[in-house]
Assembly symmetry: C7
Homo-oligomer: 97 residues x 7
């Protein structure tokens, strides 16, 4: 990944249905607004507070995460597509079995 996100942004590789089977998480594709599962590829330095402090992100590269489906900006690096989202749009982390 040759892109470093700024602030509290996170780069996500969206996981397709086949890959989801391993984690036991199934996100039905009938309901359009359902959350999506993805893999964190890179994280920014974190959220800047009004005090000037920076809160480091709670997720790290490699984490499997769930996030709202229509969140973020799509980018394409080489022939792969990614999403840049804010960490606050991540609903939860999938624990490895």
């Amino acid at each position: 990944m040759n892109i470093k996100p700024l602030g509290d942004r996170v780069i996500i590789e969206v996981l397709e249905s086949d890959e989801k089977t391993k984690s036991g998480l199934y996100l039905p594709d009938t309901a359009k607004e359902k959350p999506q599962e993805g893999k964190v590829m890179a994280v920014g330095p974190g959220r800047s507070l009004e005090s000037g402090k920076v809160i480091p992100p709670q997720v790290k590269a490699g984490d499997r995460v769930i996030f709202g489906k229509y969140t973020g900006d799509e980018i394409k690096v080489g022939d792969k597509e990614y999403l840049i989202i804010r960490e606050s749009d991540i609903l939860g982390v999938v624990k490895s079995a």
Copy 2:
């Protein structure tokens, strides 16, 4: 539950009408906007304040709670459905008899 919520999020298993009878709470299904009862399955670390402090959640796994009906994101783990909501959308905790 193999998902760890982030921030002030909480994973809820929605309780059906039969189960509600025990707690004595009845939520009529005629009014669509009425709150729902559910069981807390997992909680995040809590809400981050501007000072950098984190307020731990007031609910814990196992608590029976009431929350607004059309709140949160639905997920499905294996064959069970859950909701991921914010703790601030929980109206109250049902005390065990």
Copy 3:
């Protein structure tokens, strides 16, 4: 009352017109947006400030209060209906004669 409100929420039993007579307060039912009178059944721990402090509620169980009519969420416990509202939606406390 077997429900404990969270945060700055308060559980209210709405008072009907007959009961209002005692306190001398009369809220005409012609104007739909007029405030309502009710009795506080349970209060949450209070409002959390950004500093992490919690402001305890200014009302307590048993208080008679006035609040905006279309505020809050209705719940039913056994065969009785209640409202869960935020303390900031309470306009005032009716002093006992």
Copy 4:
């Protein structure tokens, strides 16, 4: 007045045109959005700041005040009507002659 306002709320008795003559203030009734004059009947403890401090109200019972016409909630105590408004909706205090 048997109602104690909460927070930064104030109970106002609206003054009719005849009473306004004394203070020399005349509010023409042709323009619907013009401010109104009234008498403060009761004040709450004041506005709570994020620091937890409470700012006591700048007006007191007995003050004649001007406030925006379509502000606040109407209540009726016995056979008299009052308004509950926020202190921040009071534009100014009429000084006694």
Copy 5:
């Protein structure tokens, strides 16, 4: 002026075109949204900050000021009309020649 503004409010006497000539300021009346010139008649104690401090107003009675045309509330004292506006709606002070 027998009215004392509250908070950061200011009472303004609107100046008509003739009076404007002296200060050399001309506000064309073709464009409806153009600012207006006026004279400060009374000022409130100032704006309250979240810290509890009060910032005294930057203008004083007697100042000639420019402000947005459709700002504030009109009042009439005796046979004269005034505006009550917020100090933050004053664009600038006209310096005496």
Copy 6:
């Protein structure tokens, strides 16, 4: 300039196309929403923070600046037109060659 702006306001003389040529900056007039170039005529004391501190402006009288085209209030002093805008609407300062 006989007007002193309040707060973080700045008085601007809008520069016409001929004058722009000197600074090498050209703002095409085809696109209506394009920024404009102007000259700072007067600045206010600066922006007041919640702490009570005042941040002095980053521009001074005489600076050439770029700002959003449909920002601010037009005033006319004698036969010249000016704009009163907020300093935060200034996009950048044109450095002298």
Copy 7:
């Protein structure tokens, strides 16, 4: 670049498709809302916090960055077009190979 941005603003030269090939980043032009790649030409002093502190920008002149397509104001200096955007609209920095 003879323009100095104010506050947290950044001047960007938008990169065309040919130049993007080097960094391996490809942004398909079919989807109109996709982010764009550009080169930072100048940065402001940074974002002012409520405490009065200034957070210096995380990007510097020469950086390749990704940002939302319909963000910012277009300016033209000589015969070249640039964008003035806020640093918070920059999604990430492209690392040099």
